[in-house]
Symmetry: C2
DNA sequence: AATTATTTTTAGATTTACCTAAAAATATAA
DNA sequence: TTATATTTTTAGGTAAATCTAAAAATAATT
């Protein structure tokens, strides 16, 4: 059984590994909001326990055991987020911090019954996939909105930024999950994107467009 | 803000104070499953923070601040137990340990929305009262089943023992919350009690009868 | 290849919540 | 009212997770 702290390390290593493979000490420190020296200490402990493979100065990779543990935490986190939004009427920008705590509750019975209670959801309020109890993810395809071409149509299926500020901004613009959009123009000057949504034309910055994920239906 | 550990101490002091007023170091140690020396350490810290009044060798009492904090934790514990039973179909003997963890999740929004989601329940799956968000309890009256006289009728409204073994035993006997009972005999030999429930006669030990709480309708 | 910069690790402390063993205070019994 | 037993506190230490400062390894630049 892992401690609260070990679980947080595993989850962060897992997320970092999704992008970079080998995970560096400094990257972990930044995510954990702690010092590199503390990370080195914890890494040694996780290696000791068989959660990570570690070569001095070369960073870490999760072992199978470590990966399973991390996925279990991700599963809990996302299921709790669904609970908060679907059952307790939280907004999608309000759930992350509470889920950060709930994800550490130790009870397999609890999480399986919660899963059932929620109707075995496949994705969380931000469009992130929820692994099943065996740790398997449904294969998800997406295209960043920024990569769509003028004339392309698509549905908003997720976001790659979970800050409350960003999510509230999207909410205000009506850019929520499941919405149909079409790219009507891309501004040369600043790279901002003009999109057609619910019959209205709106303009979003390049920065915003980068963090919206869509399933494109291709050209119309 | 209190730590996980501090919260557990406060809750235990609160429950012990319900019976004895001044709470002794050894009693706390027993409940916390720790050593008296550790309790002394923590007591000093809680006194420092203004949660308890402490006189050396004389035990502690909760301050207003400490009592409020404790009641908040009791509220969370009991609301989560209702959630587990009513929504996730846990049995009443399965919920305590998980609630012990859930009670420490820090979010007033969460607990208020949970309360609403559950329909503002007044009592938990064991019949224990749930304080409202201002910390007020509905006044509850009960008579121990053991104190009823032959011929008395009553409704089972609670239990004063929460062990899984005891609760499972009651379940098997059909002695669950809300059930109507009548005392038909008390055995001289061992003090066991014969009760009429759902048209059937059953015999329960004195030990069991001590821990069943009822609202008596008096003599029939 | 040598210098400089960055990353990572070690060494040594700190804090929190524990512990054991011994001393001190209080309560109970003779 | 001594003597004995119980309760509580102090003293000193351990383990987990942190920290700062300095040393060592690796990477990037001249
Ligand atoms: Mn989240
Ligand atoms: Mn999410
Ligand atoms: Mn309970
Ligand atoms: Mn209960």
């Amino acid at each position: 059984m892992q401690s609260f702290t070990e679980e947080n390390y595993l989850k962060i290593i897992y997320h970092l590994a999704e992008k970079t493979g080998n995970v560096q000490t400094n990257a972990i420190a930044e995510q954990m909001q702690t010092k590199p020296a503390s990370v080195t200490d914890m890494i040694k402990k996780l290696a000791e326990k068989g959660f990570v493979d570690y070569i001095k100065y070369q960073g870490v990779t999760l072992t199978e055991k470590g990966k399973n543990a991390a996925i279990e935490i991700v599963r809990k986190h996302r299921l709790w987020e669904v609970f908060l939004v679907d059952k307790l009427n939280f907004k999608w920008d309000e759930v992350h911090d509470v889920a950060e705590e709930l994800e550490h509750i130790k009870s397999t019975a609890l999480i399986e019954r919660l899963d059932e209670f929620l109707g075995f959801p496949k994705s969380d309020p931000h469009g992130d996939p929820i692994p099943d109890k065996n740790g398997r993810f449904a294969i998800t395809q997406f295209i960043k909105l920024i990569d769509l071409k003028v004339g392309d149509q698509g549905t908003i299926t997720g976001v790659s930024q979970h800050s409350s500020a960003f999510l509230k901004h999207l909410e205000k613009l009506g850019l929520t999950l499941g919405k149909q959009i079409e790219i009507s123009d891309v501004t040369d000057f600043d790279g901002s994107v003009e999109i057609l949504i619910a019959g209205k034309q709106i303009n979003i910055s390049r920065e915003v467009a980068k963090h919206i994920l869509t399933s494109s239906n291709g050209k119309n």
